[in-house]
Amino acid sequence: MNKKLGILLTTSPENENTHTVLRLTETALAEGKQVEIFLMCDGVYHLNDARLEGLTQKGAKVVVCAHNCLERKVERKPFVLWGSQYDLAVLIKESYRFLSFN
């Protein structure tokens, strides 16, 4: 059974959503779940947040909307997949639970 938790994060790092997403992801990974986080809108600023890179080292997958990164001049980072809205469309279909933080 697919046990991937999908998370959409569209708010910038100073929002309380960041803390929630970080803790949820850590807990899910600790329980052996797969976690994929899709960043769009101001959420792409998390590429500059070392805590997110730490999550990828623990096994989380992070995908960004490249269009939003280019709009905000956020540089590409090696720990994320430079993606598109198609990645979100697939994540929504494939994840067994999906949470959005807007």
Binding site: L8, T10, M40, C41, N68, S84, Q85, Y86, L88, A89, V90, I92, K93, F98, S100, N102
Partner: protein, 116 residues
């Protein structure tokens, strides 16, 4: 079929957020199993009124609405929210449903994305 409901409930005035939410909704249709319903409630109903994006700094609206409709996905407007704001009818083809009917759509959806 994966039923996805996107709820737009914030005003489109002076923000690009709603435009981005609609762009996301169009993007969700790229996965062919996703059946997308965009639901406009509260101040979100102003999006389906006769808004002029360049005057209210709202970004692209109508192009996304028309794309969703042409791709066979659904636009729903809550009747009570329209009446409360004096909006007589949607400027694009959309289903005007009661609050109870909107709740039914949400309860039957596989995924619900409240967009703020």
């Amino acid at each position: 079929m994966n039923q996805v409901a996107v709820i737009i409930h914030k005003s489109p005035f002076n923000t690009l957020r709603n435009s981005e939410g609609l762009r996301m909704a169009v993007g969700l249709t790229l996965e062919e199993d996703n059946r997308v319903t965009v639901i406009f409630v509260k101040d979100g109903v102003y999006l389906i009124g006769n808004v002029t994006p360049e005057k209210i700094q709202s970004g692209t609206i109508k192009k996304h609405l028309e794309a969703l409709r042409l791709l066979g996905h659904r636009l729903v407007v809550e009747r009570e929210s329209m009446e409360e704001r004096g909006i007589e009818g949607p400027s694009v083809k959309a289903d005007v449903l009661s609050r109870a009917e909107v709740v039914k759509i949400l309860s039957e959806a596989n995924r619900v994305i409240p967009w703020q």
